[in-house]
């Protein structure tokens, strides 16, 4: 149990929404770098130790691929480095590719954290009464990938136990993976129908059905919520005044370091590192108390 997941669902939802939406709608390198670092730190705290390197093995190639593909298709920009089939490959396009890659990887890290923290019971607690159908669909969609991974492992292990997929050839391995995947598609369709049937049988969404939940809005929830709103307001004011705007084409904008824009960068940085700092603080507290016993 991580301390951040013990906050009230409303606070958590506000927090994740404000971070991910702001990351998605900015192209400013400073803000994106803060979001990426904050996301990686938070994710590393949430997951077990070796998971960090496994993540890297997936995200680093993805990052490079996005960064390389952009300059191949986008030729705008003032500084050509070389020419590919008569079209310029520019410095601006390469930097923009890196920027977009940082944004995508940051959003993916934050979504990973969201999935770990916002379990489906919290989501249903928030929206189950107001919009039962949509909230069920959304919570099923959000847990789809993790569930898919677990079931995929089960299917391939079962296949292996029966003596399938034992060939050493890489091509055979890929083919057996495809076979598992096709099994999984059928299974996931069936599973979705079964889940919704099961929920219906339990009377989900009926009038007068009561809910039980242990979530209570306490003082520390109020503190975190007001802090989130305050920092978001600062960053949004910055956006309104244009200090988070950043253009790559045709010329890269000069990064502004006026006092106000620095305040905006710091505010967004604090917002991104907030959960990480909370976890670190709780860890230190725990260690401190343990050492006292």
């Amino acid at each position: 149990m991580k301390i951040f997941s013990s906050y009230h669902p409303v606070v958590l939802l506000c927090y994740f929404l404000s971070v991910t939406v702001m990351v998605m709608f900015t192209a400013h390198p400073v803000l994106l770098a803060e979001a990426l670092l904050g996301g990686i730190c938070f994710c590393t705290v949430l997951e077990r130790g070796n998971q960090f390197f496994r993540n890297l093995a997936f995200y680093v190639p993805l990052f490079l691929m996005i960064a390389v593909v952009n300059p191949l298709f986008s030729h705008n920009g003032m500084t050509p480095l070389f020419f590919l089939n008569g079209n310029p490959v520019t410095l601006e396009a390469i930097l923009y590719g890196i920027d977009i890659a940082v944004m995508l990887v940051a959003v993916m890290y934050w979504c990973k954290c969201y999935n770990i923290i916002m379990t489906s019971d919290k989501f249903i607690y928030l929206f189950g009464k107001a919009v039962p159908k949509i909230s069920l669909i959304l919570s099923m969609a959000l847990r789809f990938i993790p569930l898919f991974k677990i079931q995929m492992k089960k299917v391939s292990v079962a296949g292996k136990a029966m003596g399938l997929y034992s060939s050493k050839s890489r091509v055979d391995k890929v083919r057996s993976g495809m076979r598992v995947f096709s099994v999984m598609v059928t299974w996931s369709l069936e599973n979705a129908v079964e889940t919704s049937d099961a929920m219906k049988a339990r009377g989900y969404g009926l009038k007068g059905r009561s809910h039980f939940s242990l979530f209570r809005f306490t003082a520390r929830d109020a503190v975190l919520l007001s802090l989130t709103i305050l920092l978001t307001a600062i960053v949004l004011t910055g956006t309104g005044l244009g200090s988070t705007a950043f253009l790559f084409y045709p010329k890269i904008t000069h990064m502004s370091f006026t006092p106000f824009s620095v305040v905006v960068y710091v505010a967004f940085g604090v917002l991104c590192f907030l959960p990480f700092l909370i976890e670190v603080k709780e860890n230190m507290k725990w260690k401190y108390f343990v050492s006292k016993i």
Binding site: M78, P80, F82, F83, N85, G86, K168, V171, K251
Partner: protein
């Protein structure tokens, strides 16, 4: 294991084809264009690049392009210049040679990448399609007439006058009438 080698061979083949299809030039090489000398016997054509319509619709232009660097105050990116016409030259060949010679930025979409089978000019001097409103882009006329087909399909003859013009209203503001005729 045999299958693995086959797969590796296939991947190598695809990479080889891709590399074979790409042509990499350094900046100096790209701009180093040979312009033939004009003599009395050579065929020549005239080419000009203008963006006057942007000056009339300056408020529609993307804010990052609103500078003299990209939109000259008189709207002339390349004044009317005479170039030698080599046999079989199309409008695109002349444009390509002239922008290289004058070191003007230009991006095009290859003839295989669209359904018209002709090269499409996406942007000149960092002014792109849609940079100045949703109906904006580059178009060309030869001897004052809009040919209504791609620039790499128009083969030129001696004395032709090519004008590359930027439109902000799908050609109507630069005098292209065929769209209007079709609609009415």
């Amino acid at each position: 294991m045999k299958k693995d080698f086959l797969a590796i061979g296939l991947i190598v083949l695809i990479i080889a084809v891709l590399i074979n299809g790409t042509h990499i030039q350094s900046v100096d090489e790209y701009y180093l264009t040979h312009i033939d000398d004009i003599t009395t016997e050579t065929d020549t054509v005239f080419v000009s690049i203008r963006c006057d319509t942007i000056l009339e619709n300056y408020e529609d232009l993307s804010s990052e392009l609103q500078s003299k660097e990209f939109v000259p105050t008189d709207g002339v990116i390349l004044a009317k210049t005479e170039y030698v016409l080599r046999p079989g030259d199309t409008v695109f060949d002349i444009l390509d040679r002239s922008v290289r010679y004058n070191k003007i930025h230009m991006e095009y979409q290859g003839a295989n990448a669209n359904s018209f089978g002709s090269i499409y000019i996406k942007g000149i001097n960092h002014l792109y399609e849609f940079s100045c409103g949703p109906l904006s882009g580059w178009t060309y006329k030869v001897n004052g007439v809009f040919p209504n087909y791609g620039c790499s399909k128009y083969t030129l003859k001696d004395g032709d006058v090519i004008e590359w013009v930027y439109t902000c209203d799908l050609g109507r503001d630069v005098g292209n009438r065929w769209m209007g005729e079709k609609a009415s």
